[in-house]
Amino acid sequence: MSGLSRRGFLVGALAGGGALTLAVSCGGSSGATRVRHADQTGELVANLYVTVMPDGRISLIVNKAEIGQGVTTAYATLAAEELDVPLDRVDVQYAGSNPEMRTSFNMQITGGSTSTKEGFGALRRAAAAAREMLIAAAAASWKVPASECRAEDGFVLHSGGKKLGYGELTKLAARERVPGKPRLKSAKEWKLIGKADRRVDARAKVDGSAQFGIDVRIPDMVHALVIHGPVFGARPDKVSAEAARAKPGVIDVFPFRWGVAVVAEKYWQALAASRDVTATWGKGDVAGLDTEKMQQAMRAYDDDGTGVVDSGNAGKAIARAQTKVGGVYEAPYLAHAPLEPQNCTVRVDGGRAEVWAPTQSPTLVQAFVAEALGIDSEDVLVHTLLSGGGFGRRSIPDVCAQAAVIAKRVKRPVKLIWSRESDMTQGFYRPVYAVKVEGGVEGNKVTGARMHCVSQSIALSSKSMLGAAIPGVPAPLKSRMVDSLLAMFSTNTMGDLFATEGLRDTPYRFGNFELTASPVQTKMPVSAWRSVGHSVTGFVMESFVDELAHAAKRDPLELRRQLLPEGSRQTRVLDALAALSKWGTPPPAGVGRGLARQFSFETEVGEVADVEIVDGRIKVRRVYCVVDCGVAVNPDVVRAQMEGGIIFGLSAALDQEITLVDGVVQQTNYDTFPSLRMFEAPEIIVQILESDHEPTGVGEPGLPPIAAAVANAVFALTGVRLRRMPLQRAWNERGAK
């Protein structure tokens, strides 16, 4: 049975079945459907997530996008744990759009490092419910109390020695009541959680069989690319495409609101034809935008801003202090640059559309496609495919809207693949920041801290983007979506919540602390980029605390320990990091050591970087990392995410920036937007702290400390304080002003 038809069944069977967000309460009227389905197919559809197949295998629907973070493995582990089967007996499918599965902000979305936390309860309950139905069925057939039976390794066993495989029990189990509160294993009973380390998606990713969005094939499908204008948002003016249209295989070349679409039977034909297209362009949304001037203005920004935190009297405390430290910390626009370029495949059929997309949010795909086609978002069916990296960019389905319009026009299913250049220049960047910080030090004590955070607002940008997408959403969903999005993107009195995260909620007790914020606006859209605001605020706060430590002539780790709550997750991580990195032991000559930490996505991470400068190049040799993420469901996946977050963060910290000159993005491919390569990848040593806390974020929290750890190491080595990312450019231009 294909994923689509099972999903169709699920919607039919379980819609209206009540509160399905936890996936276990689907009794009542759906019971008859479950029985009928089991009798016909031998499958026990226990709930939205878990189906027990007639061969005893478990079919699991993962309602999240696999973007490399390992959510497939985590969810399979949680389900296998409660069903007591080995991990390799779980087959995973990715949920497409399904109104019953809008479990995050009334949407289906993957982000904010929340998946494992979200699934930890829901998936275990869903699997435990299936297990209890299987046990109840076996007990009934043996006419023994269920309490005398247990599940083990895919069988239900009776204490008297009887034994039945899950696959033999599906039809009987379908007749059992769905338990409302199934018993969950205690941590002591876990066989897989905290131990299972093999990624379930690895095999297909080493033999070439993994099907990413870009790999999908639909009958009668044609291929398209879009030529975007030189300035973001520019519309084509005069298009000359006669030569292109005459090329073999070309179906259509036409201007539309995003650029010029080139459609051909094969992508290589569209690619060849696109070289024969010439166009003149309108001005574009960001005409004239110059990031160097913009950053200059942000640096000098001296309005009062919106008050975010005002505790004590920071102004006075700093003014009176013996020593003052600080300056303006800066960070540029950044592209996500996932290795799989944005792509989407769409079939339009009358008032309905079917979409195949590597996406972080099927719900937003529905909204964007519906708006583009002028149809109802419930008439858009989305199939979620593997993503070749996401980092936030795949929550913005602009490419899907474009593909939908093209498919409607050519009346054939279309796979639209952006060039790398389009992927890099089409906006939704990590916002630009300038954060002015001041601190006071009296003797060896910190007297106060004050910060003013100037940044482009993700909240405002998202609102205007969603404003465009919302018209296609039906009214009831619209209000729920808008409500939850407003909550998410709130620009209330505290300012943009993304902009100041990591600052306004800092665990440091400065005594006197003032934080103000000012949003700046441009028409270049910004969005969540791996670790969102923390990608900058970790750099700002942790460099600043290092400045305070040096001014107070205190060891940076000791000062942090003193400023942080005693006995907290923060100090526990610091202590472990001190031991792991042998902090306090002088590094070898020519090596600087820097330390930083950040609490993000409810996870505490501390990092120590060993840095050298060789021929003017900042080289990170080794990074020690300690993480407290609650229960580590798959410890090796957690380690991999720390490694990945550190390397992704290092690429940004050292080298990456998106700049605009007269509205034109200057970086178009991996040569001008460099990422760390093998020869510069540091050795990374990760320690996961034992914890019985529920799982917290993992995909993003490894990133925020790394830039400051490196900048602090550069200071330790050279006495030069780098307050601007990318750090390599700041180093090259040090003292230039």
Partner: protein, 171 residues
């Protein structure tokens, strides 16, 4: 035009200047080879032509002729994965996985030339393959592990994990 892909002869009707990448993906139907940058800067499209690594996104199919082409789909035998693929599994290398076909193809050529590569040789051979997920430390370990599996002896000791912790355990 006749191509020899993974030991199989295939006939394709495309202009000679068509990039090999798209011929493999769209005409031969092998999608394991990936499009990343289109400019030979990321290595996601790496295949072997006559045993040498080639960026198929900038290789004109007409320049390949009847030289044998190997893609990621052609590495494993019926019975088993290629030792490099096996090592990738053992070290849990892939995250998103999109670059890994290219990484593995590059590593296979490296190990053919250098059965026991040093870290510096791994840097040289693998730095043209970009990974945005940051799997480099694991790729390094997996290359050393593959060297062992291929019978290159113990190879160079892989870099130590934290405090010499056993794999899968917590340090």
């Amino acid at each position: 035009m006749k191509l020899v892909v993974n030991g199989r002869s295939v006939e394709v009707a495309v202009p000679a200047d068509t990039p090999l990448l798209w011929v493999l993906r769209e005409e031969v139907g092998l999608t394991g080879t990936k499009f990343g940058c289109g400019k030979a800067m990321c290595g996601a499209c790496t295949v072997h032509v006559d045993g040498q690594p080639k960026r198929s996104c900038v290789t004109a199919v007409g320049d390949v002729g009847d030289k044998p082409i190997t893609t990621i789909e052609g590495l494993a035998s019926e019975a088993a994965l290629h030792p490099v693929q096996q090592a990738w599994l053992e070290e849990n290398v892939p995250q998103c996985g999109y670059c890994q076909s290219g990484q593995i193809m590059s590593a296979v050529v490296l190990l053919r030339a250098r059965p026991k590569p040093t870290d510096a040789e791994i840097d040289d051979a693998m730095s043209a393959n970009l990974c945005r997920c940051g799997t480099y430390p694991r790729i390094r370990k997996a290359v050393h592990r593959a060297a062992e599996l291929l019978g290159g002896g113990a190879g160079e000791a892989p870099p130590k994990t934290a405090a010499g912790a056993p794999k899968g355990g917590r340090p």
